[in-house]
């Protein structure tokens, strides 16, 4: 053993350095584009197009942020290379917060209720029904997208918050599946003790099972919040109007309105940076839990 080690030691060292270099490169490539968003957003709107290769913000300014937050008049915006159409990221930010928060709250709660029934209670048709839910997990979104759009249109729910939130508000097959797995894994004993004490099923669910599942529920809520926050096509189809427009849709519309020859990159990157804030906050606050959640539930 020791002879073999001494013989191969130099090559291993070289390989190690090479691997470290590769690893550092991966990190750099991962982080640099995100840094570039900030760099552009904090740069002067004219300098962006001149100093294209400077690594730090050129002519440091917060004007791009102020502009997309609607703190300049239309004339001022145009003078700064932006569009005259009002951009108000406060509004879009608010809309995104409303949609993501309510949607995830409803989805998590109602999914937890049914997941508890699937995991703990006996009723005829339980396994067949759960199998149906699982089957729905296989169906790609595009199949239900068009019929759901037509349904929301027929309900006259286009350009409303309920229209954007409706399809996922009561459940997704994934959230039910995830929570059922969790409930199957937790200890029965506390629930049995509560039954012996005469507690009925809703009480046990509310007082025993839910408090025990706070870690799982918050993990799922984090994942679903980020997924909802990032969603584009559905809110684009049913919620283009300003009053309900969410951030992703706003960014896409902003980009399509920006002048073809000289896009308003300063404004676009400022809007982009703003849209990243909640995700980054969640990430910094929940750090380890978020990473582990992604790691162990890596499918949706």
């Amino acid at each position: 053993m020791s002879r073999a080690q001494t013989r191969t030691a130099p090559t291993i060292q070289f390989a190690t350095i090479l691997a470290w270099g590769a690893f550092a490169l991966v990190m750099l490539v991962t982080l640099f584009p995100v840094y570039w968003v900030l760099r552009t957003a904090l740069s002067d709107h004219k300098e962006i197009y001149v100093q294209t290769a400077v690594l730090w913000p050129v002519g440091f300014t917060l004007d791009n942020f102020k502009r997309v937050l609607g703190m300049f008049t239309a004339e001022q915006s145009v003078a700064m290379g932006g569009t005259a159409t009002g951009i108000n990221f406060w509004l879009y930010l608010r809309n995104s917060v409303i949609v993501s928060t309510f949607l995830v709250a409803g989805q998590t709660f109602f999914s937890a209720m049914s997941a508890y029934a699937f995991a703990r209670l006996r009723f005829t048709g339980r396994d067949q029904l759960f199998f149906l839910y699982l089957t729905a997990m296989m169906i790609p979104g595009v199949v239900t997208l068009i019929p759901n759009f037509i349904l929301i249109r027929d309900l006259k729910w286009l350009d409303t918050f309920q229209g954007i939130m409706a399809p996922g508000f009561l459940m997704t097959p994934f959230t039910v599946f995830f929570l059922r797995q969790f409930f199957l894994g937790i200890n029965h004993e506390l629930e049995e003790a509560a039954t012996l004490d005469g507690a009925n099923i809703p009480t046990i669910f509310w007082r025993v099972a839910l408090p025990l599942s706070v870690p799982a529920l918050s993990t799922l809520a984090i994942l679903q919040f980020i997924a909802t926050w990032n969603d584009y096509l559905w809110p684009f189809l049913v919620g283009k109007k300003e009053a309900v427009r969410v951030l992703t849709v706003a960014l896409a519309i902003f980009q399509s309105q920006t002048p073809q020859g000289a896009p308003d990159w300063g404004g676009l990157m400022a809007g982009t940076a703003l849209s990243l804030v909640p995700t980054l906050v969640i990430f910094l606050v929940f750090g380890r839990r978020a990473v582990n959640a992604i790691q162990f539930t890596g499918f949706r």
């Binding site: 991966v26 584009p33 790609p140 349904l151 409706a166 099923i201 992703t248 990473v291 992604i294």
Partner: protein, 298 residues
């Protein structure tokens, strides 16, 4: 256990509660998953422009689909994308996962790696649209700084699809690496120790132990990423909108055009049913071929 009245009553009450608990999710499931799936299938046998009532046309849309050169082109472009995206992304992710396993188990590193995946597709597309801008993009400054010619990237027929593949590799490689890394943690260290005693080198261990024992994780990763990459849409909606010419007109974009630009709902659902059949078939073949549910650890 006995047929007392008490337990039977309790069982009936339990079932009642259970249905009450399941009811909200069942309503959501029926309205937004089950019924639309069936409705989508039914719509594919009609022509419908949303203005006049839908007209039943039998299998006409399916007949048309088989002769549709644009659909074949969309399939080809999508396949091209998947074939570029998946092998590079998976190999890269495997490499990153092995490096993480060797060098650093830190949460911060994993956090950084997963960051691109947490960003909205729209944002990722915008960031790269700017970095890859033909005249002012940073990447072209580097390329020219190194003495090469300016590249059109998303603006050229040849480069657009590979560029979009690269953008999505950037978004997904770290995330995929995290999944594979989790798989690596399940391989018992004793297996490597035993192999080392038998004189196996790193390479032999990697191909003889790591890869075979990772198989369930790798199959899972492949199945989900392939399904995901067949549904590429957001990135294209921001960057190329199917162009230049038809170079990035993938199936999902084609469906979108038929449904929400031309308002031909019948044919659009026909294409989406076809995409569904393709995805199910690919998944089924993969599960069969790789024997997904068994691990070589047994």
């Amino acid at each position: 256990m006995t047929t007392h009245r008490q337990p039977r009553l309790a069982a009936r009450r339990e079932a009642l509660y259970a249905w009450a608990f399941v009811a909200p999710s069942l309503i959501g499931f029926l309205i937004f998953f089950a019924v639309p799936s069936v409705r989508g299938l039914l719509m594919s046998f009609t022509n419908w422009d949303l203005l006049r009532p839908a007209k039943f046309v039998g299998v006409a849309n399916y007949v048309r689909l088989f002769g549709d050169a644009d659909f074949r082109h969309a399939l080809k472009v999508t396949g091209y994308y998947v074939l570029m995206n998946i092998p590079i992304q998976t190999t890269l992710a495997l490499g990153i996962a092995v490096m993480m396993d060797k060098f650093s188990k830190s949460t911060i590193i994993r956090g950084i790696l997963v960051l691109p995946w947490l960003l909205p597709n729209i944002v990722v597309a915008l960031i790269w649209l700017w970095l890859l801008d033909p005249t002012m993009g940073f990447l072209n400054q580097i390329i020219m700084g190194l003495g090469f010619q300016r590249q059109p990237f998303l603006g050229s027929i040849d480069q657009a699809m590979p560029t979009i593949a690269a953008i999505n590799i950037w978004r997904h490689a770290g995330y995929t690496a995290i999944l594979i890394y989790a798989g690596l943690q399940t391989i018992p260290k004793e297996v490597y120790e035993a192999a080392a005693i038998d004189g196996a080198n790193e390479q032999q261990m990697f191909f003889g132990i790591t890869i075979p024992l990772l198989r369930p994780v790798l199959v899972f990763v492949l199945v989900t990423t392939i399904i995901g990459s067949f549904q590429i849409f957001d990135t294209i909606a921001i960057t190329t909108k199917g162009g230049p010419v038809d170079a990035t007109r993938v199936v999902y974009w084609y469906i979108y055009e038929y449904a929400f630009v031309r308002f031909k709902m019948g044919y659009a659902t026909t294409i989406s049913v076809a995409l569904f059949v393709i995805l199910i078939t690919i998944t089924f073949i993969q599960m069969r071929y790789f024997n997904a549910n068994s691990s070589d650890l047994d």
